[in-house]
Each structure stands twice: as structure tokens, then as C-alpha cells.
């Protein structure tokens, strides 16, 4: 049976995402080459620093990947709920999962008053979908809007975004650690150096500078990648419910609800930002373009614009859907 679909994939988004991942890979390769060059030119003590940074960086990425669900739930103070406790929420998730043919994630509720939702977990079997009390109670979302938010989060699970983003940020973690280690060994290692380490004294600051640059570049690329993943999740979510309008109005409501919340709550929520439905904290200071560069989420306007495009596709007469394949 020929598969038919009414929607062409968004090639532009795919191309931009590929370019971002390519650049990240390029930075990674250049960084590794540089480190190997420095290590071969210098003494083992630098090699040890690099090795430790790799082990620590890899280790922390591994831990955050494997315990992402527990860490995120604990950080949000969320509690898993059974179908009896939250029948409506479970009902929506059940149906969306049946439509998308994916295993059902666990469902949790966080006590925060700000309306938001996030999904985490390394694969679809270990994932958790968490919504805040604020989203369920205070945001006056309609059922369809809530469904749109949940479909967006389920798309993050289907896209394995936690895995992708962890691997993507591995380099930044290692580079960041190297800066720190190099800094400390500069401070404390000076007295113990023997004569063989003569050029190491020069190379350690070099590693520090290179790592700092690599860290900055990969940080920006990761944020860029994160924004593309959000757009991709919006798109898949809207195609799943076939109701981009509801997702648009949910986005608008949640975003305006977020800005009404006192600053204290928002700061506390910031570390979880990357997995949230809408960003909890707007960057302070800087021009609009700068904050757009650092942000984990695309601007509301960008997200609405994309959903409007899907809305138009749905309104088009489907005389021969096969031609759209």
C-alpha cells in the first residue's frame, strides 16, 4: 500500500539543522586535532589534564542522560500521577500516543504555578511527560490547547531530543572543564614543574584560550540547535493533532502567562529551560538580536509563523493528496 501524506517535510528546517550539526562537528574535530597537537608537543601532564576533562565531561553527560528523567522531576519537584489521579491528562496522552503509535511515557505533575510543560528521558521507554499545576489550573487553556502542548512534548520524546542535545553539548562540557582545569593547574601546578615541562608553561594558557573559544562557539551552536528542535517539535505536534490553531493559541496564552509570574519563580526554573514548552526566563539586557542568539526557544513570532504555514496547508483542497507526497 502506497503511503500517502498531505504534508511535505520542511526542507528548509532540515537544511538549517544539518548545517548547525555540521558546524558543531567541525568545531569538535578542530578541537580534538588541536588538543592532540598540543599533547604531542608537550609533556604527559597536559595529557592527563585533557584525559581527566574527557572522563569527567563524558561521565557527567552520561549521568545526565541516564538519570535525566529523575533529575528533571526532582528539580521541578514533580510527582508521577496514576490514571486514577489525573484521568483527563492520561486520557489525552493515551490517545495521542495511539495516534502517533508510540509507547506512552510516564505522566507527572509539578506544583509550580507557572503554566509550562516538559518531557525528558533518554528514550521513549524511560521518558516522563511533566506538566505544571499552573498549566492545568491557572492558565485557562482549553482541552484542545492542552492537547497541543502535550503533542509538542510528545514530539520531543519521539525526536529523542534529550539524547541529541546531550551528545551535542558533550563538547561544550569538555571544553568548559578544560578551561577550569587549565586555570587551576596554572595556579597551583607552577611550583612543582620540572625542567622538562618548560614549554608546558606556555601551552597551558594556550589550551585555556582555545577551550574558551570552543566553548563559546559550541554554546551558541547548541542554542541554535535547540531552537530548531523546538520548531521541529511544534511542527510534529501540530501535524499529530491536525490542529495548529490550538497550539498557536496555547503558545500565546502560556507565553503571556509566563511574563506575569514574579521573577523569583522564573529564576528557580531556569536550569530546566531547555526542555520546557515555553522559556521561563527572558534574557536580561542586550538587544533583541543578542537575546535571540542565546535563547533556547525561538521567538513566539517565529513559532506562530511556522504554525500558520501548516494551517494553510491544511486548508488547501486535497483533490489529489498523492501529488503532495
Amino acid at each position: 500500500m502506497a503511503t500517502q501524506t498531505r504534508y511535505a517535510p520542511d526542507r528548509g528546517l532540515t537544511v538549517r539543522m544539518t548545517a548547525t550539526m555540521f558546524l558543531l562537528g567541525l568545531v569538535f574535530v578542530a578541537f580534538v586535532a588541536l588538543i592532540i597537537g598540543i599533547m604531542s608537543a608537550a609533556h604527559a601532564s597536559i595529557g592527563a589534564i585533557v584525559f581527566i576533562a574527557l572522563v569527567f565531561g563524558g561521565g557527567s553527560a552520561f549521568v545526565s542522560l541516564f538519570f535525566s528523567d529523575k533529575i528533571a522531576l526532582a528539580a521541578a519537584g514533580a510527582r508521577e500521577v496514576s490514571p486514577q489521579e489525573a484521568p483527563q491528562l492520561h486520557g489525552i496522552v493515551d490517545r495521542l500516543c495511539a495516534l502517533a503509535d508510540m509507547p506512552k511515557p510516564r505522566v507527572a505533575i509539578a506544583p509550580a504555578r507557572m503554566p509550562n510543560a516538559f518531557a525528558t528521558g533518554r528514550n521513549s521507554k524511560n521518558s516522563v511527560l511533566c506538566v505544571t499545576e499552573g498549566l492545568l489550573r491557572y492558565s485557562d487553556l482549553t482541552q484542545e490547547e492542552l492537547e497541543g502542548v502535550l503533542a509538542h512534548e510528545l514530539s520531543h520524546v519521539a525526536h529523542k531530543d534529550v539524547q541529541v542535545m546531550t551528545y551535542a553539548s558533550l563538547l561544550a562540557i569538555v571544553a568548559g572543564l578544560l578551561v577550569r582545569f587549565a586555570f587551576y593547574s596554572e595556579l597551583f601546578g607552577g611550583g612543582r614543574r620540572n625542567s622538562n615541562d618548560g614549554n608546558a608553561a606556555l601551552l597551558i594558557p594556550l589550551i585555556m584560550v582555545a577551550s574558551a573559544v570552543v566553548y563559546a562557539i559550541s554554546f551558541l551552536l547548541i542554542r541554535l540547535l535547540s531552537r530548531y528542535r523546538e520548531l521541529a517539535a511544534d511542527r510534529s505536534g501540530a501535524l499529530l493533532t491536525q490542529n495548529p490553531s490550538a497550539l498557536m493559541s496555547a503558545l500565546t496564552k502560556v507565553s503571556s502567562g509566563m511574563s506575569l509570574i514574579p521573577t523569583q519563580d522564573l529564576r528557580a526554573a531556569e536550569p530546566l529551560n531547555a526542555f520546557y514548552f515555553a522559556p521561563a526566563m527572558k534574557l536580561q539586557g542586550g538587544g533583541a538580536s543578542l537575546s535571540a542568539l542565546f535563547s533556547t526557544h525561538p521567538s513566539l513570532e517565529k513559532r506562530i509563523e511556522q504554525l500558520t504555514k501548516i494551517q494553510r496547508e491544511l486548508g488547501q483542497p486535497g483533490a489529489d493528496p498523492r501529488s503532495l507526497r
Binding site: M1, T3, Q4, T5, R6, Y7, P9, L13, T14, M17, T18, M21, P83, Q84, P87, G91, I92, D94, R95, C97, A98, L99, A100, D101, P103, K104, Q143, E144, E147, S155, A158, H159, K160, D161, Q163, V164, Y228, R229, A232, A233, S236, L239, L240, T241, Q242, N243, P244, S245, Q311, L314, G315, Q316, P317, G318, P321, R322, L324
Partner: protein
């Protein structure tokens, strides 16, 4: 999902599997022989209505198609359309208890019309209702995306309890006639489904 889809954050809409539905008539005979549950003659197709004109047009066509044979011998009763509290549309087709073949044909007509219109991914499930002499209710739910069935038995008078023992019994009885969904986590309750 392939690795490329993961990398690019794409999901392909999942197409429904339609053919396994035709196992229902023989399974109904088997079920009645083993447990006394008879088809009530009511069956329904549940789908997620898409926004926009094209979907509304197709939905209208389907209804006209199903109602064409009204009043003729073997044609069945009028078709009902309801929307449940989760926003899913149910098209309910009513037949006599012994007209399982005609019912399945009706359900299949709805499916093919949606699939031909390019809205196959919108199909959620189909539900065929059964009851026994002591008015216990049972329904077989067909998951389009999996091509599998599962039993759903709400306890009479309760809106939040299901008869798991009966469900598992039916799973054992029909295991050879129908493809039963093995992942019990996917046996989601369809409270308030019409025709139940």
C-alpha cells in the same frame, strides 16, 4: 523512526492498518461460543478531525455514503456522529446483532474514505460493542496504527473501573483469532465511547 528522522526531528505520520478488521466476524462467533457475549450490532470509528475545509468535505461524503442504503433490506439504521470530551469524532454505525459482516463493511468504508483523502494518520481506533445476558458490557477496540485489538470492559454502574479479569479472559479466548495487543500499557480506557 530512522536515525535521520531522529537527527532532523521529523516524525512521519503513521498510516493505519486496515485489513485486520476483517477478522472480527469470526472472532465474534468464537467469543459468543466461549463466553456468551453477543455483538450489540453497534460499531464505531473514532478519528481526530483535522481543521480546515478538506477534512470537513470528506467527513460529509462518508456520512452520505453510509446513509445511502437506509431503509433497504440489510441496509441498517442511520449513522450517528458524536464528538467525545477529548475532541475525537465518532461515527457510529448500527446494525442488527447478527449482521457483523455488514457492520465491518461499514466501518471499512469509513476507513478507506479517510485514507483515500490522505487523512489515514487521523484514525484512532474502532470499537465494536458486545453484551451478555446479565447486561455486562464488553467492547473490542481495534488500534489502527498497531493493527491489533484489545478488550475493554467497563464495570456496570461505574465510570472509572474496568473488569480486568474479563478483559484478560477475552484476551486468552481470542488470542488465536485476532491479533491481540501484547503491550498492556496500550489498552487505554475509552470511557464514554458511544455505543458502549
Amino acid at each position: 523512526m530512522g536515525i535521520l528522522d531522529t537527527l532532523f526531528g521529523r516524525t512521519k505520520p503513521v498510516q493505519p492498518k486496515l485489513d485486520d478488521l476483517f477478522g472480527l466476524p469470526s472472532a465474534a462467533v468464537q467469543l459468543e461460543a466461549a463466553t456468551g457475549f453477543k455483538p450489540t450490532g453497534s460499531g464505531s470509528v473514532s478519528f481526530r478531525a483535522a481543521e480546515g475545509r478538506p477534512f470537513a468535505d470528506i467527513q460529509k461524503e462518508v456520512l452520505e455514503l453510509l446513509d445511502m442504503d437506509n431503509g433497504k433490506p440489510g441496509g441498517g439504521l442511520p449513522v450517528e456522529v458524536t464528538k467525545d470530551s477529548y475532541g475525537y469524532t465518532w461515527i457510529v454505525s448500527n446494525h442488527l446483532s447478527d449482521e457483523m459482516d455488514a457492520l465491518v463493511t461499514d466501518l471499512h468504508a469509513v476507513n478507506t474514505a479517510l485514507v483515500d483523502g490522505g487523512f489515514g494518520p487521523q484514525l484512532l481506533c474502532t470499537l465494536v460493542a458486545f453484551s451478555d445476558d446479565s447486561h455486562r458490557r464488553l467492547s473490542l477496540v481495534y488500534l489502527y496504527k498497531r493493527g491489533t485489538f484489545y478488550p475493554f470492559a467497563p464495570l456496570p454502574g461505574r465510570s472509572d473501573r474496568r473488569d480486568n479479569a474479563l478483559e484478560l479472559q477475552v484476551k486468552g479466548i481470542l488470542g488465536e483469532d485476532l491479533k491481540i495487543e501484547q503491550d498492556l500499557a496500550r489498552w487505554f480506557p475509552v470511557w464514554g465511547a458511544p455505543g458502549l
